[in-house]
């Protein structure tokens, strides 16, 4: 028979204490998240029209049929003007080989090679309106963007790509959509003919969450003390 104390229902008080502590901990973590300070930086791009308005001009395309142009034509030639990445991805067929204008934030890495660079250009809410989610505290869904090929002279104009703590350069690109770009092994791309910087890259300030810092320091101290006591008691046994 084991000398160890059996695990009974009557130890309910211990369990209640554990549940109480857990609840306090959960509420504390929830509290520090809710009270997290956000940056008041304004990342809105006044020059960039609302992308949501552009999307209304494109309906969802049928999967099994060739896509039909649904955008306004000018003298029989599709005149897409500025497009959104969502529209291009939903109906790649109608944009294939067509000249378009696209505005978005350069994110990730600028992959320089072969006389130019591949960049990922997002035209989501973080790029054109709210700035990085961690900084602004505004959640606007997943990222959406297009792969863009920029020739060297254009790449030289870029200063910084967006990423952790950065809103990258916002650029306006005029170019041609390639539904299946052979130069990219079959990817959907936009090949730039011209580019202009709409907004320079800037640091996205993320204020230090003081409550989170205090909670972390407090927990580390309490847990270190508890573990030391537990080990001492165990050693004395």
């Amino acid at each position: 028979m084991s000398a160890r104390k059996p695990f009974h229902r009557s130890t309910i008080i211990q369990w209640l204490v554990a549940i109480l502590l857990t609840t306090v901990l959960v509420l504390a973590i929830r509290g520090v998240r809710l009270s997290a300070p956000t940056s008041d930086q304004d990342f809105t791009i006044p020059e960039a029209a609302d992308v949501a308005e552009l999307e209304t001009t494109v309906e969802r395309c049928e999967r099994t049929l060739p896509d039909e142009p649904v955008l306004p034509d000018a003298d029989g030639v599709p005149n897409f003007g500025r497009v959104s990445s969502t529209a291009v991805v939903e109906c790649p067929d109608i944009f294939d080989g067509e000249p378009v204008v696209y505005v978005g934030e350069v994110v990730g890495d600028i992959l320089r090679r072969d006389g130019g660079a591949w960049v990922l250009v997002n035209d989501d809410g973080y790029a054109l309106e709210a700035g990085p989610a961690g900084s602004s505290g505004r959640l606007l869904g997943q990222n959406s963007g297009l792969s863009v090929w920029l020739p060297d002279p254009m790449v030289d104009e870029l200063s910084h790509a967006g990423g952790a703590g950065f809103r990258g350069d916002v650029i306006q690109v005029s170019g041609t959509i390639r539904r299946v770009d052979p130069a990219d092994g079959g990817g959907l791309t936009l090949r730039a003919a011209s580019m202009q910087i709409v907004a320079e890259a800037e640091t996205a300030h993320t204020p230090l969450n003081g409550g989170q810092l205090v909670l972390a320091l407090g927990l580390v101290t309490i847990v270190a003390a508890l573990v030391l006591v537990e080990r001492r008691v165990a050693a004395e046994r």
Binding site: S135, Q142, V227
Partner: protein, 508 residues
């Protein structure tokens, strides 16, 4: 006697969960220096909170409910079933505090997706995620992959014939502790060897692709952990398409295939026993279904009319077929393009590949290629039984560990049970998707549902941060059930029910 056993079991389960919590806490300590290096102080404090809770709760649970004996097989299943939610609860803390998820449910989803090596994501604004949290997500995949491999060496190495039929047809190793330690060392050796090879190959490929030198370690580490653990998280919203590099894709194809190979077979390869490797039922089954998947996907792409040149079609189709078959989930195409530009046949091929999956004893999900092969052998046996005279003895065999084995009714029954469980879960998931999202059709719903149940992580663009809570909950369940192949979750449910029998303290 029964209740005494239950008390002991509960103590044992809590003690082991303490160890599980400690591991997550330790992982947060490992990730913390990256937050310091990147100057991400909020991420650092969130990792410190996770470390403190994980290590503290783990230490207390382990010491208070100390294990007094070895786990039984059923206890092991309960421990494993509970380990994933426990790990995910802790792992969700840095994600929830990051400000990149809408709530704690989403943080739990993201953690569960990483730990089950699925790779579906509900994060907002991944492209601006702090570097240390991107690394945290990758580490979760690694932890989840190692967990399932260790489970394969211990808990999934059953001691009863009943359990062996269900789980242990392939990938069974030594069950003694010295045997486990030796095998685990081999596992680490194999993993490190692959890691070194991947570091060289990916480093060179990323440099050629134009990735800035300072960023190569982050991208290399992320790609290796995602591919080798067949997980699929990425540091870019464009996944592998962000690199625009065929050499990166080739290296990843090799790593994904390596990740989908059972570790016992890695050991066979390590010893250079190529003939034995290629004769194994796992290798043959995976080879056949992968070839089938590639053919279907390429035929579908050719039919869709999206590709006019063979080269690009082969490149995209091959990568996606391997990613689906190995249930990795890395992608070279925008998810919605699968629905808008790939026709119906190619995505259907990917669904079939994901449903079948990789090998048992690896981190790959799905029903597993070997079970699929055995199911076909079972069908062949039944057909022969019908065609031959009544007195004829029909025996079907398969190669395992270099020797022929007789396919028994118990094997076939076990395989059929798992297949049925997977299919039911996939169908129910698809129905929930259809109910909650009017804009998607059945084929798209099946794609997402199969991907979740097979822990694949490829998406056709349905699941995202703005999906309904019910859908996210169902997908969490699918990922959990699929990862544990159902039995561990059933064992956990049975255990939870049995704890109702615990008696009140007896008075002296």
């Amino acid at each position: 006697m029964r209740t005494e056993a239950s008390q002991e079991q509960l103590r044992t389960v809590v003690a082991v969960q303490g160890r599980v919590a400690s591991v997550v806490g330790g992982l947060a300590v490992v990730a913390a220096p990256t937050a310091v290096l990147a100057g991400e102080w909020n991420a650092l404090t969130s990792l410190a909170i996770t470390a403190a809770i994980g290590l503290g709760a783990g230490e207390i649970a382990w010491r208070r409910f100390h294990m007094t004996r070895e786990l039984t097989w059923s206890e092991g299943m309960v421990v494993l079933g509970l380990a994933y939610p426990v790990m995910a609860l802790l792992a969700a803390i840095p994600i929830g505090l990051s400000g990149h998820v809408a709530g704690w449910g989403d943080a739990f989803f993201e953690a569960m997706s990483g730990l089950t090596t699925t790779g579906l994501s509900v994060l907002h604004d991944l492209d601006h995620l702090p570097t240390s949290l991107a690394i945290w997500r990758q580490l979760l995949q690694l932890l989840g992959g190692v967990t399932i491999l260790i489970a394969g060496l211990t808990i999934f190495t059953p001691r009863s014939q009943k359990a062996y039929d269900f789980y242990g047809v392939g990938g069974r190793l030594e069950r003694s502790v010295p045997g486990f330690v030796t095998t685990f060392r081999h596992m680490v050796k194999v993993g490190v060897a692959w890691g070194i090879a991947a570091a060289v190959a990916l480093g060179a490929s990323l440099a050629i692709a134009g990735v800035p030198v300072a960023r190569i370690p982050l991208h290399g580490m992320a790609l290796f952990t995602s591919a080798f653990t067949t997980s699929g998280f990425s540091v870019s919203s464009a996944s592998v398409a962000a690199y625009h590099s065929w050499s990166v894709e080739v290296v990843l194809i090799v790593l994904m295939l390596a990740g989908a190979i059972a570790f016992p077979l890695h050991l066979i390869l390590w010893r250079g026993e190529l003939q034995r490797f290629f004769r194994h039922v796992d290798t043959r089954s995976l080879g056949v279904v992968l070839l089938g998947a590639i053919v279907v996907v390429l035929a579908g792409l050719a039919r869709s009319g999206a590709f006019t040149e063979v080269g690009p079609m082969l490149r995209r189709g091959l990568f996606l077929a391997v990613s689906a078959q190995t249930t990795t989930g890395l992608t070279v195409t925008e998810p919605r393009l699968l629905a808008s530009d790939w026709g119906l046949v190619a995505p259907a091929g990917l669904v079939l590949a994901m449903a079948i999956g990789g090998m048992k004893g690896s981190t790959a999900g799905g029903v597993k290629a070997e079970r699929f092969g055995l199911a076909f052998k079972g069908i062949a046996r039944e057909v022969r039984r019908v065609l031959l005279p009544d007195h004829a003895l029909v025996v079907e065999t398969y190669q395992h560990k270099g020797r022929p084995r007789i396919l028994t009714d118990a094997h076939v029954r076990a395989v059929g049970t798992v297949l049925l469980l997977f299919m039911t879960t996939q169908l129910v998931g698809a129905l929930v998707i259809l109910y909650g999202a009017d804009t998607f059709d059945l084929t798209e719903a099946m794609f997402e549902s199969v991907s979740a149940t097979s822990n694949a992580g490829l998406s056709i663009g349905i699941l995202g941060p703005t999906s309904s809570g019910i859908l996210k909950l169902v997908v969490i369940l699918q990922m959990w059930l699929g990862r544990l192949e159902f039995m561990a979750v059933f064992a956990l449910a049975g255990f939870a029910w049995s704890t109702r029998r615990l008696p009140a303290r007896r008075t002296a």
